[in-house]
Symmetry: C2
Subunit: 305 residues, 2 copies
């Protein structure tokens, strides 16, 4: 654990640029030997998680009848930018000792919810106070509204169908459904998006943006990590540690990629949250902590080889 924590506190572990800079210098204090071993390990670890989620989702949304609905659902699901929340769900499941397979339906559901949210966020609404999105529309506004509406229940369907009476996990799946419902609904992402709307009607855009990040990226990642821990059979303490860890990670990610990227005050807050997030990983298996800790920088680390 000591090695894991020195790693956590001393290097890129919680530095989360969404757009990695390959020219960035490696911190001097970085323990290079450990880094090289960890890098290749983590690279394949996160690649394999993302690959497994994508495979699971592609199998779940084949281009089948009705083609008029499934073709755009497939297209829009994979057209949205990747959120890191689904992979965090799987990693949290493995961190508490669970099998990856049990978290893949929840990770896929989170992917679908995020894609639905992204699709609807870019709809060209008449009489809207938001600036009109420049994003291209693959299928026209009517279809994109409908398909976003279809993605949400489809995510719940994947989760509900993953029930296996032989494994006696129904109550865990139902608990995860409540978690995801709240996180993507009125108490999470929707509340966050409300603050985003408010941002365009307010003079205090920074305050609205920070509130949005907390409710949107924060709640989504907190939920993802908690769901992974629930499905992996974690204790209540582990579930709550994972929830807090995901909340910090989501908030950090929102801040370093949004309006706060060059904001000194927010950068201090980000550094504080990195330390708090690291503390939530204490007590877990050291090797798995190393694996989860480089979550957001596989490209950056790869570029240093």
């Amino acid at each position: 654990m000591a090695r894991a924590l020195s790693h956590i506190n001393g290097n890129s572990l919680f530095r989360l640029p969404c757009r990695p800079n390959p020219n960035r210098q490696l911190p001097l204090q970085f323990p290079c030997r450990v880094f090289k071993v960890t890098m290749s390990c983590n690279q394949s670890y996160w690649s394999s998680i993302n690959s497994d989620i994508e495979t699971h989702l592609k199998r779940a949304i084949p281009i089948r009848e009705p083609l008029t609905v499934f073709e755009p659902m497939n297209g829009l699901t994979f057209a949205a930018p990747r959120s890191t929340a689904p992979a965090l769900c799987v990693a949290a499941c493995e961190l508490v000792g669970g099998n990856r397979d049990v978290a893949l339906p929840a990770a896929s559901a989170l992917w679908l919810m995020y894609s639905a949210s992204f699709t609807h966020e870019h709809l060209p609404l008449a009489q809207s106070c938001r600036p009109r999105s420049d994003a291209g529309h693959l299928y026209g506004p009517n279809m994109e509204l409908l398909i976003g509406d279809a993605m949400i229940p489809f995510g719940f369907e994947l989760l509900a169908k993953s029930d296996d009476p032989a494994r006696n996990v129904s109550s865990r799946i139902l608990r995860v459904m409540v978690e995801i419902s709240r996180a993507v609904g009125s108490q999470g992402m929707i509340h966050g998006q409300y603050h985003e709307v408010e941002r365009y009607q307010s003079d205090n855009t920074k305050s609205c943006h920070v509130k949005k990040i907390e409710k949107y990226e924060g709640t989504l990642h907190g939920c993802a990590a908690a769901c992974g821990a629930i499905l992996g059979g974690g204790s209540e303490e582990e579930i709550e540690k994972m929830r807090r860890y995901g909340l910090y990670i989501g908030k950090i990610q929102g801040m370093v990629t949004g309006v706060g990227r060059n904001d000194k005050e927010l950068n201090i807050l980000v550094e504080e949250m990195r330390i708090l997030a690291a503390k939530e990983l204490m007590g877990f298996n050291e090797a798995k902590v190393l694996a989860i800790s480089n979550y957001f920088e596989p490209n950056f680390m790869c570029a240093q080889v």
Copy 2:
């Protein structure tokens, strides 16, 4: 059973005008004594079901924090026109011998899904091929898009939270979630709405409208009745009978209220479906069949007293 079925085949049982005509003449063959008894019974039966669903839903969506989200969610949930599917879910549960309480969360979820669909259907989308809706917008397009998105997961949350380990019904609830996901998603209502969009781009508006009715009203009511039967502990045969009954009822309702109201060809189809629907009720408890059979005409029947 004989009395119940003569009642089914010979009177207003499957005549489903959405806007009842109080001046309409009672069919001559109507068994008046039975009718009067049934009427008051049914009137209170359906009123009590609708009242119980509304009470359940009002308790589930109190106007609480965040007010900016829950106040419009409450408003839009009750602003949408009433669908008959939620009450059919409860009635089907009781028809197979289940307790009303176990179906109320599913009925509330169906209500929320229908309200979300109605809210999004009336969004003023720019670049839309649909005619712009004249419906008033209570909260502005941004909020109505967001709240519709919040209603769908909230419906699933109500269902998932209704799990009670002491009653050992988790697998039934998960099955109902799969049913509702499919019915409100890509294989049901969304597919139906696609046909509605297609209607405005096609010369064959009648064909598109009939396809829309089958997928939207038909699937929604079929799902509602099947879910009620699942939650009420019905056999597989009863569940499938209820699904077919609901499918006919939904399609009839869509046809007599939509473009087909004055269409001779569709009216013949409606009559055929009334007979088919009646057959699906054979074999159930006679008194309950009488109760369910006057489902859609409480106002009409009330006006005949």
